[in-house]
Structures are given as C-alpha cells and as structure tokens.
C-alpha cells in the first residue's frame, strides 16, 4: 500500500466528518459561552476542553459547579458519563493494540462519539488495517480541531451575551434533547422517568448526592423491571439473545 492511499483515506475521514460539524458547533458555543458566564478564565475553559475533550461531560461538570456540588461528585459524574468510551475503546482495541505504544496512547486520546460512529460503518470494516487507521485519524483529528475551535468561538461570543438571555438554561435544554435521542424503547423511558422524578425529590440532599442516587435508582429500576415482568433484559431492549 502506498502513502498516497493512506492520505486519501485520511482526507476521506476529514470530509466525512464535516457534515457533523453542524452538530458540534452549537454544542461547543454553549460550552464556551457558559464557561464565560461561570466566570472561568479563557485559559481555564480551553484547558478543560483539551483535558476532557468530551462535551457532555464538560457541560455536566459546569452545571454541577454552578450547583456547588462536591469535588468527588463531579469527578464521579464525569466518569459515569464517559463510560461509553470504554465500549468504543473495546471496538478499536483489535485495530490499535498491535501498534507501537506511543501511537496507541495518542490514538486513544482523540477517541470520540463521532469518530466511533463513522468508523464502524460497514464499508470501513472491509478495508485493510492501515486504511482503517488512516480513516480513523482523519475523522478523529478533524473532530478534535472543530471541537476546540467551536469552544474558542463560544468564549469569544460569550463575553458579549447579556445575563437576561439566561444562557445557562441552554445546558439543561441540551441534556433534555440528548435524553430524547437516547430513549428508544419503553424500558429506557421508564428509566428516565424514575431517574428524573428521584432527582426532583432528592434535590435537597447535600453535595448533590441526590443526583448520584437518582442515577442509581434509574438503573436499578431498569435492571429489576424486566425480571418483575418475567422477560429477559435483552428481549425488553429489543436485542437478539446471545
């Protein structure tokens, strides 16, 4: 395989990522502008962006900081929100594990929802390992650059947004919209309702423990309800039996 083929796959990845920028841009703007509204310095917001490189976890951390949540609760929340990366990590493991350590370590950092979504497409699975890695790098690096630039733009714009606009309300709205896209069956709807109601009733607990407990209640409800109904978890979730 020629260098040219690697390059063409890399740029193919960059091109395929471009339509997704329309989803990344408003999200990055909200993160940047809310950071400014929380009185964070631009360096701190960019430092956070580069260290997290995970938009929903960044927004969650910002909201919890606003609510004076405990340090441990914020770290725990970030971990739980980002657990999905473990699934992506497992997906790319066969491809990256044989590589040199420095490549493995740096490729892991740029792993994202969008890169995962593009790279698991069936026509990518049929390509050679080298081509797939080039394509991954194209999508993942393009997303990294567009994410960082979107947050920067948000910081630039955020300073001029008046407080009457209630910009902070964009955070729960963004989570609500994401929530709607994750509810794909009745069990997941019940999980969301249990967790949301529990969060309302447990609001008063210190250190934002109510949030953590609400998540636990939601997940436990999702594990127990299929058993009560006498059905297997996989059939309720509409997944094939293993």
């Amino acid at each position: 395989m020629q260098i040219r083929d690697y390059r063409s796959q890399f740029w193919q990845g960059v091109r395929d990522l471009m339509p997704l920028v329309s989803g990344v841009l408003p999200f990055g703007l909200i993160v940047g502008a809310n950071g400014v509204a929380l009185d964070m310095s631009p360096e701190l917001i960019m430092g956070m962006t580069v260290m997290f490189f995970a938009g929903s976890a960044q927004l969650a951390a910002m909201q919890l900081i606003q609510e004076n949540a405990a340090f441990v609760v914020i770290v725990l929340t970030t971990i739980v929100i980002n657990l999905r990366f473990a699934i992506y990590s497992a997906t790319f493991a066969p491809l990256f594990y044989p590589l040199k350590k420095r490549y493995r370590l740096s490729f892991a950092y740029i792993l994202s929802d969008q890169a995962y979504g593009l790279c698991i497409a069936p026509d990518q699975q049929q390509r050679s390992d080298a081509e797939r890695i080039s394509y991954y790098l194209g999508t993942a690096l393009a997303l990294w650059v567009s994410w960082v630039l979107s947050v920067l733009l948000g910081i630039a714009v955020g300073a001029s947004i008046p407080p009457e606009w209630m910009l902070g309300f964009t955070i729960p709205l963004a989570f609500l919209a994401m929530l709607m896209s994750t509810i794909t069956n009745r069990l997941l709807l019940i999980v969301a309702v249990v967790s949301g109601l529990a969060a309302i009733f447990l609001q008063g607990l210190p250190y934002n423990l109510g949030f953590v407990l609400a998540v636990v209640f939601g997940v436990v409800a999702g594990l127990i309800l299929p058993r009560i109904a006498g059905r297997s978890f996989n059939s309720v979730m509409g997944r094939p039996h293993e």
Binding site: Q63, S89, P94, R104, L105, L176, L179, S195, F233
Partner: protein, 109 residues
C-alpha cells in the same frame, strides 16, 4: 471553587476520561468478560444520567429563599421535547426552548 481547585478538578476528570478511552486499547482481551457483564448497566446509564441532570434545573430555579417551581422553564422544556422528536440535531430543540423562554418572559414578565 477557586481557580486552582478547578484546574485540579478538570485535571482529575480529564485523566479519568483518558484512562477510560485507553482501557481496552491497552488491556486488549483482558477486560472483555467484564464489559459483557456490565453491558446492561452501560445501556441504562445514558437516559438515567441525562434525566437526573436536566429535569431538576428545568423544573426549579434557585432563589435566595430556596427552590422555586418555574412554569416558563417547564413549558420551554416541553417545546424542546417536541422539537427533539422531529429533528435529529440538538440545535433546534435548544433554539426552540430558548425562544419560547424569551417570548414568555417578554410577554408575561
């Protein structure tokens, strides 16, 4: 929180996130059975987390004398829910919810 503790917080969060991303790539094969066992929990986590994150700040606002139920925000949330079921992008539910909130405040105060 002070600036220094925020840097510390973000560093810890960033490190944890990186280690999750690296987990299987580094420990290839050794964590497979663990992942299979945790899969139901991993599938249930997104709606549980997102609901616990977004419902309270939509229903209540923090006032100096405690929590207050915010009708305008709840209605704005409903607008966002309707828009989210029609559009895939996050942009429209957020814009629609915010526009409703601004309009409501402008009309009713």
């Amino acid at each position: 929180m002070s600036d220094l503790s925020l840097w510390g917080l973000f560093f810890m969060c960033g490190l944890a996130t990186y280690l999750i991303r690296l987990s299987f790539i580094q420990m290839h094969g050794k964590l497979g059975p663990l992942l299979a066992r945790c899969q139901p929990v991993l599938l249930l986590l997104p709606p549980a987390i997102l609901a616990a994150l977004c419902i309270p700040p939509i229903v209540f606002s923090k006032q100096t004398d405690g929590l207050q139920v915010e009708l305008a925000q709840i209605l704005a949330g409903c607008v966002a829910v309707v828009l989210a079921s029609y559009f895939k992008s996050l942009l429209w539910p957020i814009l629609g919810g915010m526009s409703f909130l601004w309009g409501y405040r402008w009309l009713i105060g």
